[in-house]
Amino acid sequence: MRRQTLGRKITKAVLVTLLLIFTLFPAYWMVSSAFDARASSGGQSLLPREFSFVNFEFVFTEGNFLRFLGNSAVVAFFTVLISAVLALFASVAVARFRFRFRTGMLMMILAVQMVPLEALVIPLFVQVRDLQLLGTLTSLVIVYLAFSLPFGIWMLRGFVAAVPVELEEAAYLDGASWGRMFRSVLLPLVAPGLVATSIFSFITAWNEFIFAMTLLGGEDQNYTVAIGLKQFFGLHSNDWGAVMAASTVITIPVMIFFVLVQGKLSNGLVAGAVKG
């Protein structure tokens, strides 16, 4: 450790303080407005002027947010489940087998990750409409698979490759079939990676906005949380207290999962990208 001069320390303290303010202020302001009964009538003070739960009550009773939370949970659950199974199988295939077009497949999965889904709203909307699924939660699960699958394969591939081949061979020597080896050796060892990718797809499905808005249209009993917020925006005035209370409710599960997954998430993004 180098010795630090006093001036250096002070500069650093100031920088850290400024950084903390910039980083945390939006989250603080969201929670603070959510607990302020008078948030919508203008906020000059940094603390809630009238601390109460009235905004949260409104969000859950009038705002029907329990329903939206349920919808989002259902969509996220099925997205996570299906994409985890499909991604696991596919990642085992590309990490453990040598076959023709393997490199081609990997390149395709990587390239497909770069396709801007925002540019595919129109064809996917038409497709969902042709399947007569507009306004249903099923349509969202289907579309969100496209979001989470390529990244899931890419990330799980690293976890599968990290399992020593010798363990698999030992299982075969003990007379296990491929299926048995998969269940008893590979699956338990890849489980942490599976959890990490699942949380990632959960967060994606939970936060997604453009497809939820487009595919659900006017079916407001099927709204997910991300678009359920817009009902608090009036023609002339917005109920900011309610918006912030609902936002807080939406953000909490994401924060929790994010803390659980963050190390793996950044490693996965970089490992997948840098190391290939």
């Binding site: 850290v16 939006p26 390239a111 396709v115 699958l149 963050q262 990208a273 840098v274």
Partner: protein, 320 residues
């Protein structure tokens, strides 16, 4: 006990060459494809086919009638001609898209790198505290984050306006959202706030791997902090920076919710349109799905160029 040569041959990264001459059972040979099939079907149906279709739509005058009947209505490159002759593209949409992406990417990467350098110089406890705070910013969903920034800059009751009025800098509330410059300034703040944690965490991980001896030697030789960054840190983190730059570029070119949700961002204020929002409002607002598709194709092509650089860069480094 079953002899397991086929499994071994199939299951290893180890023996790279020389596949077994012996015929392997069909199930073993098809197993990778059986495992890949479900994912490939989903990707083909949800990504590749729509990608083809958005291009096909872009060659048609595709409106509500065509959606209902399913009949094609080919007009060749008419939509593209209309886009490229539309002055809106050159004066509003492209400058908004590209200009915003450049500012936002540079802002995010520079700010994130500075935060990473600050984090690297902190002790264990403070690094943990600041790191956790950064996670909070990262975890904030784009939709709720955008609403919070709108609320902070709200014209009637927002914090910024009341504070500026409170200290006497302004007599009347200012609407930050009607002027394209202030509108995009808010989007930039929003994007940097949401995007810098990824950069900071990634660059920090790279920084911890930079040789301390080299840095100390450079300092002994009288190299200042700026010089040390550009001469030692940046070259050894070149790959990390490439990834961070390219991912941020992709994210910032296609930014949608952060603009669409802002007051006037959903098409009512034509001055703030970017490619993504323009495509969306033309299709779902005006029912001009063909025209919207053509814009979407342009956006995809723009991103494809970035992706091509990305893939080429990867291929150079190792062979997958």
């Amino acid at each position: 006990m079953a002899v397991t040569t086929p499994h071994k041959a199939a299951g290893g990264r180890r023996p790279p060459a020389a596949p077994p001459r012996r015929r392997t059972p069909l199930i073993v040979r098809t197993r990778p494809w059986l495992l890949l099939a479900p994912a490939l079907i989903v990707l083909a149906g949800l990504l590749l086919w729509p990608l083809v279709r958005v291009f096909l739509f872009s060659l048609q005058d595709y409106g509500l009638r065509e959606i209902v009947s399913g009949e094609p209505n080919w007009i060749g490159f008419g939509n593209y001609v209309e886009i490229f002759t539309d002055s809106q593209l050159w004066t509003v949409v492209l400058p908004n898209t590209v200009g915003f992406a450049i500012v936002a990417v540079l802002g995010t990467v520079i700010f994130g790198t500075l935060v990473a350098l600050l984090l690297a110089s902190l002790g264990r406890v403070w690094r943990l505290i600041v790191g956790s705070a950064i996670m909070v910013a990262w975890a904030m969903p784009a939709v709720t984050g955008t609403y919070v920034w709108i609320w902070i800059f709200d014209a009637d009751h927002g914090l910024v306006n009341s504070m500026l009025q409170g200290i006497g800098l302004m007599d009347q509330p200012f609407n930050w959202f009607t002027n394209p410059v202030t509108f995009y300034a808010i989007v930039v703040i929003n994007i940097i706030h949401h995007g810098f944690p990824f950069v900071a965490v990634t660059v920090l991980a790279g920084l911890l791997g930079v040789s301390q001896e080299m840095l100390e030697a450079a300092e002994m030789d009288g190299a200042g902090p700026v010089r040390r960054f550009f001469q030692i840190i940046f070259p050894s983190l070149r790959q990390v920076f490439a990834v961070v730059f390219i991912l941020s570029t992709i994210w910032d070119f296609k930014v949608f919710a952060q603009i669409y949700l802002m007051p006037g961002g959903s098409g009512s204020n034509r001055e703030v349109l970017n490619l993504g929002v323009w495509s969306y409002v033309e299709s779902f607002g005006q029912n001009r799905y063909g025209f919207g598709s053509a814009i979407a194709v342009l956006l995809t092509l723009l991103l494809l160029i970035v992706t091509a650089i990305y893939v080429r860069y990867l291929l150079k480094e190792d062979e997958l």
